[in-house]
């Protein structure tokens, strides 16, 4: 998507400076503004899903209820893993900005790997819940829980694919500091997906243990 052309402040026309074409009158790159606008849109996307979950929480008459199946320890660990992946992402961006390709590759791979660990935890959690009788079809809780966390998991998976693609193409010639913007934009997405998980973890899991259980 880098064929943006008009340069409002087009002084001169440096051939071979394709990236300059993307800096507009705000001084920001087109793609960066686009990613921020997209993330704003994605807030409404996850907001609607979380609102659905909240509208239905506690109204599902069919067991198992959240308190029966959630394991706060396991989910806390996976949350921690995802949070650490955001740290890796920061280091990854920092490396490419220093033109340090080797450490860029290390941190990019680590970010993707931590994302995969998170997805592994999610797979474990889902299969565990299914074995306890909670499925997409079994109850409202099942439907809302799996669709919400599954959508988030899909976002993580897309992020992992994105990171691995960048890692793969970093072996092509000409990958260096001038691609830092690409990494930064992938990072914006990655951090956003992380933040969404913090909201989901709070609303779905922690609140359940604070107020959700009749006896707790």
């Amino acid at each position: 998507m880098s064929d943006a052309l008009a340069v409002p402040h087009g002084h001169g026309h440096g051939h071979g400076h394709e990236h300059d074409h993307e800096v507009g009158c705000t001084g920001l790159h087109h793609r960066k503004i686009m990613m921020w606008a997209f993330l704003g849109s994605d807030c409404m996307f996850f907001g609607s899903l979380i609102a659905t979950y909240v509208a239905y929480v506690g109204k599902s008459p069919i067991p198992p209820v959240p308190y029966d199946v959630f394991d706060l320890n396991v989910t806390s660990i996976s949350t921690f893993v995802l949070l650490m992946s955001s740290l890796m992402m920061v280091l990854c961006l920092s490396a490419i900005q220093r033109n340090d390709i080797k450490w860029f590759r290390v941190w990019c791979a680590m970010t993707a790997f931590f994302g995969l660990i998170f997805l592994g935890f999610q797979y474990y959690e889902f299969s565990h819940f299914v074995s306890r009788g909670l499925t997409l079809k079994s109850s409202l809780f099942g439907s809302t829980f799996f669709v919400l966390t599954g959508t988030h998991g899909t976002h993580v998976a897309i992020g992992v694919l994105w990171l691995l693609s960048m890692l793969f193409f970093s072996y092509r010639t000409g990958f260096g500091r001038e691609r830092a913007l690409d990494v930064e934009i992938a990072g914006l997405y990655w951090h956003f997906v992380d933040i969404v998980w913090i909201v989901i973890f709070t609303v779905v899991y922690i609140v359940e243990f604070v107020v959700g259980h009749p006896g707790g």
Binding site: D3, A4, P8, A37, S48, S60, I62, L136, L140
Partner: protein, 638 residues
């Protein structure tokens, strides 16, 4: 006309290399990334689907002309009104607006294209894919018949088992992706690609309304995306989101749908308001009265549009407090709307008015939209709404805002910008005749519906018995509908004739005020030979009529002296970088369309194959590189 130089070599072409800049004909249109061509594609599609939706409307009116008619079956009638609504909203008014966003907004800010030309092409092809998917359901077992709002749980599998709803669901998802991608593109373009000196408050109002509409799109569409995902999961995977037997709440669908649906109303009307705000100053030869107030009112309407959704649900029993709150916000939204009306009237006031066809439509817009606005206020009050809900009064109301408002604005915009798009003038005597036929036909069709509704005739009934006192008014509505058909045939004939034989317009036939009138008609592929420098609002007007600038125009503080001298001289740029076309936007959309058919018929290899084909093309798209060529404009203004 131009000298081209140096095609830029590409290091990666994928399996469908970018066509060269000399390509012509079908391949050019299939691979184009030019905002003007994409705008025309959007516009022509909107016209095509307008006649599809219009045919549906005529069948509806024919069935309702007399009591106990049997022109169509009840089930087919339900399909007709559902598809009529869906088509007119998603396949006519929205793409027609986007056609102008593409063609005109980019010129108004003095840019060469949108920020992401290939993404722009992708938006169009996804739109077309969604439109094809939706309309193919007519031939594949029947279209959806559950209303354009698709209320759950009537759209659940046990109540509407056919594939019609699935087609509707998935086509709206695809159209949503198209709208989202388009809106993101326009936001970046407006924020980041304005010509030097064009501050936000020097932007034309149409560009402003493009921006506000785009923000509404990116914030409203995700909500219906989720609602549709939930309904799709209910239908396909047996989840319980709207299954009342498992505790699901159908009211949740209504909330999600209208959180999208009400901003959608403003997505449909704000572009037309922007168009009218361009037409009126041009043909009054005055600046827009209260420019900043008009802009802020537009933004306020956009913002308030998110706070009023429950007025569609007053009769569902939300309780007195919720109803009161939403009644107040709904009435509040009349304030910025009224402000705009007064500003438009203020623009006309004391102007040197030229009664051209675009101005007729703009004045038609103001008067008809006001009637729609007033009837809207009557159901902003919950007790009034309880009487009017689901009656023909509501049908009258939203046709006054959508035809009298949006459509009048859009047709006016087409007459206004047709010379820019084609280089020829439209709107002679035939244009005036078309306007009056439409104006009369429209009022004959829809005004009686107010009375029908207040006399208790419900919407969406496929027929009615004699003896309720509805016969003559219904017949009148149907006669009006055929008058409108005649009007549209006259209008379309006028445009086709003008395209072939109309007199040449030159770059600036109306003595326009905004930058689109500063380039050739139709514009060269690069739009402006030299990027314009902007020093004032209505910069072009002031350059043309400097003697008027200090008498009538506002003064941007500090800008007058410092820039006036350089306003005429454009700074020098080298050859212009233009992109080549690309196959991947089209192929991507094709993949998702195939995947959608596979999903509906649950043929997993097709579903997954289509999806993977789409993703493969996204990768090729990302990697094919900027490409393009350099072009050196010659001094010309056709």
């Amino acid at each position: 006309m131009t000298v081209k130089a140096e095609p830029i070599p590409q290091n990666f072409a994928g399996w469908m290399p970018r066509p060269s800049e000399t390509v012509k004909g079908v391949v050019d249109w299939l691979t184009t990334v030019d905002h003007k061509k994409i705008g025309i594609l959007y516009g022509l599609s909107a016209v095509l689907f307008f006649f599809v939706g219009g045919l549906e409307a005529l069948l509806i009116r024919t069935q309702l002309a007399v009591p106990d008619a049997k022109v169509v079956s009840a089930d087919f009638f339900n399909q007709l009104f559902t598809m009529h609504g869906t088509t007119m909203i998603f396949l006519v008014v929205m793409p027609a607006s986007v056609a102008f966003f593409n063609f005109i907004m980019v010129l108004q800010i003095g840019a060469r294209d949108v920020a992401f030309p290939r993404l722009n092409a992708f938006s169009f092809w996804m739109f077309l894919a969604g439109a094809i998917l939706l309309n193919s359901s007519w031939f594949l077992g029947g279209a959806t018949n559950a209303g354009w709002f698709g209320y759950a749980n009537i759209t659940e599998k046990q109540f509407t088992p056919g594939h019609g709803v699935d087609f509707w669901l998935l086509s709206l998802q695809i159209l949503g992706i198209a709208s989202l991608a388009g809106a993101l593109n326009f936001i970046v373009t407006i924020i980041n690609m304005r010509a030097p000196g064009m501050t936000m408050m020097r932007m034309p109002v149409f560009t402003w309304m493009t921006l506000v509409t785009s923000f509404l799109l990116i914030l409203a569409f995700p909500v219906i995306t989720i609602a549709l995902v939930e309904l799709m999961f209910d239908r396909t995977f047996g989840t319980n989101f709207f299954q009342s037997a498992k505790g699901g709440l159908p009211i949740l669908w209504q909330h999600l749908f209208w959180v999208f649906g009400h901003p959608e109303v403003y997505i449909l009307i704000l572009p037309a308001m922007g168009i009218v705000s361009e037409i009126l100053p041009t043909f009054s030869r005055k600046p827009l009265f209260g420019f900043p107030v008009v802009v802020f009112s537009g933004a306020a309407i956009g913002f308030l549009g998110f706070t009023v959704w429950s007025h569609h649900m007053f009769t569902t029993g939300l309780g007195a407090i919720a109803n009161t709150a939403f009644a107040l916000t709904t009435m509040a939204i009349a304030v910025p709307t009224g402000v705009k009306i007064f500003n438009w009237v203020g623009t006309l006031w004391g102007g040197q008015i030229r009664f051209t066809v675009p101005l007729l439509y703009a004045i038609g817009f103001i008067s008809m939209f006001m009637i729609g606005g007033f009837s809207g206020l009557t159901h902003a009050s919950p007790p009034g709404d309880a009487q009017q809900q689901d009656t023909y009064y509501i049908v009258a109301h939203f046709h006054y805002v959508l035809i009298g408002g949006s459509l009048m604005g859009l047709i006016g915009g087409l007459y206004y910008w047709f010379p820019k798009m084609t280089g020829r003038m439209a709107g002679d005597k035939m244009g005036v005749l078309g306007f009056w036929l439409l104006f009369i036909g429209f009022n004959v069709t829809f005004f009686p519906m107010h009375w029908l509704g207040l006399n208790g005739m419900p919407r969406r009934v496929y027929t009615y018995g004699a003896g309720f006192g509805w016969e003559s008014l219904n017949l009148m509505c149907t006669v009006g509908a055929y008058l409108m058909l005649m009007a549209f045939l006259v209008i379309i004939h006028d445009f086709v004739w003008a395209y072939r034989h109309g007199k040449t317009s030159g770059p600036d036939p109306w003595d326009g005020r905004t930058l689109e009138w500063d380039c050739a008609s139709p514009p060269a592929v690069y739009n402006f030979g030299k990027t314009p420098l902007v020093t004032e609002r209505d910069d072009l007007w002031i350059r043309k009529h400097p003697q008027l600038a200090h008498k009538h125009e506002h003064h941007d503080s500090g800008s007058e002296g410092e820039h006036h001298a350089e306003a005429h001289g454009h700074h020098d740029e080298g050859p212009i970088h233009m992109p080549h076309g690309s196959w991947y936007p089209l192929l991507c959309a094709l993949g998702f369309l195939i995947g959608a058919y596979g999903f509906i018929y649950w043929v997993l290899p097709v579903a997954i194959g289509g999806l993977l084909f789409g993703v493969l093309n996204i990768f090729c798209w990302a990697l094919e590189g900027p490409g393009g060529y350099y072009i050196t404009p010659t001094e010309e203004k056709a």
